[in-house]
């Protein structure tokens, strides 16, 4: 074959290059279809068991392209576990999730959470800012400083200085699309999304105006996400949060 190519005229060479390109494209297309249909060979692994999750949340839980199903890969394990419990027990409402998780045990949900938490998948580049510079700046200020006059804590007080979350129970807020952040903060503000009591995030969201939420989401979505959740916070949490073991956060002011 290689000899045939070496003896080929330039015209023939172009033809075989074209053929190779077509073949490669065909192989790629086959691969794409294969990826859609899940692994061709069965293996008894967690990845195989949770194909029910990655169907919507994307391969390895890296998020769906439409921005509606969030990334779950690499989030803190207790945060993911709490969300699975919230869906199973009806504190969060999304019919498909509620029904899917209904017959699963605490132990299995914990294992599913640990599986996705352990995946180290690169983040996509951030979205270009989708709001005016003044709005994005207002978002940045709320994230870093909060609004002491209205007793709104800064996001970084809980979600970490880098906003990548704090292991094992506080999620990062970077690497999420603006629409998703808007939808979740709005749902929290209206009581459609809940967490275990005391529901600290509900208190925070209810102290935000829709304009605040839009600004915060615009800034967060425009920031690059990288790295892992922090291992501790510099100060104690400003609010008590259900499902968050403040002792396990390793705050320097702890105890």
């Amino acid at each position: 074959m290689s000899r045939a190519v070496s003896r080929a005229t330039p015209m023939r060479r172009r033809k075989s290059a074209l053929a190779a390109t077509v073949l490669a494209a065909a192989a790629l297309a086959c691969h794409a279809i294969g990826a859609q249909a899940a692994p061709a060979t069965f293996e008894d692994s967690m990845a195989q068991r949770v194909l029910a999750c990655t169907g919507c949340h994307g391969p390895q839980g890296r998020a769906a392209p439409d921005g509606y199903y969030p990334r779950i890969a690499g989030k803190p394990p207790v945060y993911l576990y709490n969300q699975l419990l919230n869906f199973r027990d009806g504190r969060r409402r999304y019919a498909l999730m509620n029904a899917l998780l209904a017959p699963l045990s605490d132990a299995y949900l914990r294992e599913i959470a640990a599986h996705f938490s352990s995946l180290d998948v690169a983040y996509p580049p951030p979205q270009p800012p989708q709001a005016g510079a003044d709005i994005v700046e207002r978002g940045r200020r709320l994230v870093h400083e909060g609004d002491p006059a209205r007793r709104v804590p800064a996001c970084v007080q809980c979600h970490g200085t880098a906003m990548m979350g704090v292991a094992p129970s506080i999620p990062g807020l970077l690497g999420l699309p603006r629409d998703y952040l808007n939808a979740q903060l709005g749902a929290w503000r209206q009581g459609a999304r809940r967490a275990q009591a005391p529901d600290c995030m509900a208190q925070v969201a209810q102290s935000l105006s829709p304009e605040d939420i839009g600004a915060v989401s615009a800034w967060l979505a425009s920031q690059p996400a990288q790295g892992k959740p922090a291992t501790g916070l510099p100060h104690a949490l400003p609010l008590a949060c259900g499902g968050v073991d403040a002792g396990a956060l390793g705050t320097k002011e702890g105890s």
Binding site: L51, G55, N98
Partner: protein, 426 residues
Amino acid sequence: MTARRVALAVVLMALVAAVLVYMLNMRDEQAPTRAPVATSEDAIARGLYLTRAGDCIGCHTARGGAPYAGGRGVETPFGTVYASNLTPDAETGLGRWSADDFWRALHNGRARDGRLLYPAFPYPNYTRVTRADADAMYAYLRSLPAVRQPNHPHDLRFPFDLQAALAVWRALFFEPGVYRDDPSRDARWNRGAYLVEGLGHCNACHSRRNVLGAPSGPLDLAGGLIPVQNWYAPSLTAADEASVSGWDVRDVVALLRDGISARGMVMGPMSEVVLNSTQHLTSDDLAAIAQFLQALPPAPVAPRLASDAKAARREAEARGARLYGERCAGCHGERGEGVPRAYPALAGSRPVTMSSSANLVHIVLEGGFPPSTAGNPRPFGMPPFATFLSNDDVSDLLSHIRGAWGNRAAPVSPLDVARYRDTGRP
């Protein structure tokens, strides 16, 4: 004069009917025994077991709520009936109920204050339960922590919200009576019958209900579409649906205990039954249930209409086969062969080929897991496709699956898919 006589006759007949309805409603009412209630660990443990056999927790616990504190709405074609608080709270639960009161609820379908109870609480089945078992269940419920949670009023349409309408329903369709052993059968069969007809209340789903919501009797297990949820509870007597006659008893026991066996797995509402109820039953009781189910008189297998409109379906079949290759073959196999204990085979599968396509549509759209049980703690799951596949897609896909690899079932129309989409979710 004649008009007056007619009026008199009508009034008299109404009176007779009312008395008849009243008398039929008071059948088998028993004088209170005021017997002391057992509070031993043993009685409580037995009560827990029986309460699980009855899946009481399934309705009497709101999603994420305190166990047995009530509040879950059971949707019916007549409105929503809210399950009551069974914890021993004096104000809002069973705190003031005696064992006699509890017995009357289970056996006669009447509350402590004499009100008639709605048969969404399956007392037409629970009336088969013995007094000794009822007392053990009462002892167990008394041992629970009291939860103060007022009952949610029912939300029923007129005239179903009237006690008088309920009295007529009961006169027609409810007859109290404890299960009596059939002396022509052995003890194990009788135990199975007692559990299936009584606490198991299997026919609450596995039978067709009439227009007034009544199943034809506790022995009718010929399958039916569950109202509102729109999942099809397959016939337990039909060889082409979910009859287990001819199965190895161990496979029946495994299915009810683990949610999965060599013969298949449970999904949808049955997943919840295994999770809350049957996984907790002893192997002896499960074997008794299996023996009873295997001895059910087989239903005649309905002849299938030959699906001859093949030419018209060819294009749809091609689309269906392509969708199958893209979406399903990775797990269920190129030839629908499945993977043992993970992904069910679709070739030669009764859930695939049975006449109702309701469950197939639900499973494709909503996905699902079999229940986490001791025997299958980490089940493999099926992703939901509701957001990826249109009604036409699901129709083509299911028609392909129902006609491929030797399967010979009728195609599924996009209208069928539309009918079951967005129903039956919690």
